[in-house]
């Protein structure tokens, strides 16, 4: 039995170039691993037939880039032509996209092979992936624990070494938080760095697509592939195309880092604070200056997020009406009845709650009272981040307040899913890049992550910083323990 998927991407690339490994061998191994451990429930739809066909078509072709022939998983809210895309919702459980998202076209151009569509919270709304219509994925470090969310299936697929890379999406922490719970590197790039064309919209001014990987270097490789301006997304940035690996390996001595007091307040569990303190000491030993700061408004992020994300969601999800695609009731007498009943049957509880609250917040005078105010505070929050970045290279803190908790834990509290993301939401508000780096384990041996926040479009330096720290920490990050 081969174990190629435990090797690094650079090692695989060498073997592929030498012809000692073929893309088909990698694809077959990925499916073998997925089928061996169905309990993880990382995937909603597998792309087995097409993936094998694609792998065979690559045989004999020149290995022209470092990700050639590498299996990749794609979150199920990113459109894949002719491959079912459900957003983990009953309302889209029969939806077959008729075009590829820009990021998917880019993966295909570089000959990565899409293995399947990963499980997630319904329409990316949640922090545990338990709102999926297809059942929650399980954390590969301990199957009684959540993966986090909403990109929980993407996190589980990489953490369990089914695939080396996955795409996630992040509206309020949905790449970084599950990356933290599952011991991965997850990057939410600067807003606009990666095209959102073909991403099923949730909160359009917050949504970002980003890479999830086993280590920092491989994360940068995937961002190299998916970045870039796109005429199909008017918010995509005209910023220069970069090689995100170019600073990796360079020393971080002399860098200045801010640690906001709020990130070390009582909202965070003592064991996580302890690990952050250890990391701060290590950084100081490496010649990095770490200073405690206050950043205005970050403690208001959850309220802000609720208004902006739910408002935008209520508008974005109005398109699911049973007319053009997706689930539809068959016997409605009038069109209004078709909308009302289709949406009652098609959406789950979390989604319904958010659409209802969002509709309320945007209706009549409320739009002024809540939405306008939220956008003012959002601007203030962005300014307070910018002020901090005048003095510091990065802002750091814990990614999550706790480690991954029990799958069985209470689901009735409607605030819980927001509070899980309290430390990661500010980044989406300001459109900044944020990265999770694993820095150690709890007593129960569940992963703990460091959140690194950078200036807008400073991802390359974030990778330099994270990679240097990663090398110093040298953690064993395979839940199978075979590395």
């Amino acid at each position: 039995m081969s174990n190629y998927l435990d090797l690094s991407i650079l090692e695989l690339n060498t073997l592929l170039k030498e012809g000692k490994v073929t893309p088909l061998m990698l694809v077959e191994e990925a499916f073998r691993r997925i089928e061996k451990d169905p309990e993880i429930n990382a995937f909603i739809t597998l792309n087995k037939e097409e993936a094998i066909k694609e792998a065979k078509a690559l045989e004999g072709m020149e290995v022209d880039n470092v990700l050639f022939g590498i299996p990749v998983a794609v979150k199920d809210n990113i459109l894949t032509k002719d491959l079912r895309t459900t957003c983990a919702s009953h309302i889209l459980d029969n939806f077959i996209p008729i075009y590829d998202a820009t990021v998917v076209s880019k993966l295909k151009e570089k000959h990565l092979i899409i293995i399947g569509k990963t499980n997630m919270d319904e329409f990316a709304m949640g922090s545990t992936s338990r709102t999926s219509y297809f059942g929650a994925p399980k954390n590969p470090w301990n199957k009684t624990k959540i993966t986090g969310g909403s990109s929980g299936g993407s996190a589980a697929s990489v953490a369990s070494r089914m695939v080396p890379l996955a795409l996630g999406t992040d509206t309020g922490g949905s790449i970084r938080q599950p990356a933290s719970y599952c011991g991965l590197v997850g990057m939410k790039p600067t807003y606009g760095r990666v095209s959102r064309y073909g991403l099923v919209a949730f909160g359009s001014s917050l949504d970002a697509i980003g890479p999830m990987s086993r280590n920092v270097y491989e994360n940068a490789l995937l961002l190299n592939v998916i970045e870039g301006q796109d005429d199909h997304d008017l918010t995509s940035s005209y910023h220069e195309i970069e090689d995100y690996t170019r600073f990796i390996g360079q020393d971080i001595k002399g860098m200045k880092v801010a640690l906001p007091n709020y990130f070390m307040s009582d909202v965070v569990s003592p064991s996580i604070k302890e690990k952050i303190e250890e990391t701060v000491s290590l950084l100081q030993k490496l010649g990095v200056t770490v200073e405690r700061v206050d950043i205005d408004y970050i403690e208001n992020a959850v309220t802000l997020y609720q208004i902006i994300a739910m408002g935008e969601a209520s508008s974005n999800l109005a398109r699911f009406d049973g007319v053009r695609y997706g689930h539809s009731v068959d016997d409605a007498k009038e069109v209004e009845e078709l909308y009302l009943r289709t949406r009652e049957e098609g959406f789950g509880d979390e989604v319904k709650r958010r659409i209802m609250v969002g509709s309320y917040l945007l209706s009549g005078e409320n739009a002024k009272v809540y939405y306008d105010k939220a956008m003012q505070i959002r601007d203030d929050m962005k300014k307070s981040f910018e002020k901090c970045f005048e003095k510091y290279d990065f802002i750091i803190g814990p990614t999550t307040c706790t480690t991954a908790y029990d799958l069985a834990q209470d689901t009735d509290d409607p605030m819980r899913s927001f509070l899980d993301d309290v430390l990661v939401i500010p980044v989406n508000m300001a459109g900044l890049p944020g990265l999770n780096l694993p820095i150690g384990f709890s007593r129960e041996h569940m992963p703990i992550g460091l959140h690194i926040i950078g200036k807008a479009f400073d991802e390359a330096r974030m990778y330099q910083f994270a990679s240097f720290l990663e090398k110093e920490l040298n953690l064993k990050l395979d839940p199978k323990g075979e590395e």
Binding site: V323, L340, R353
Partner: protein
């Protein structure tokens, strides 16, 4: 202060969201849950802003107009594949306007 919304308030909000709630138990659950969410959201009123500037989306460039050219990217046959109810070259919907 009441820790739940009234039935009518929830039904009104559901109506705005075009979502039917036909189950009494669900309706009752939403009375408490939506109230809890809205109370949290109300906290925004207490926050003092620096200034009146708005941030709608963190975009770093001016919007540029796209070329006004039509392209055949998607055909009706493509669209029809996902439509739940079709008749000939049309998507079928129930009655919209009564006489």
């Amino acid at each position: 202060m009441e820790n739940k919304l009234s039935r009518e308030e929830v039904l009104h909000v559901a109506r705005l969201a075009r979502i039917q709630i036909s189950d009494e138990k669900t309706l009752e659950k939403y009375q408490y849950q939506l109230k809890k969410l809205l109370d949290e959201i109300d906290k925004i009123k207490e926050v003092k802003n620096y200034d009146e500037d708005f941030l709608i989306a963190p975009v770093d460039h001016e919007a540029k107009p796209t070329k006004d050219e039509t392209q055949e990217e998607i055909t009706f046959q493509d669209v029809k594949k996902n439509a739940p109810h079709t008749k000939g070259n049309f998507i079928e919907v129930p009655v919209m306007i009564h006489e």
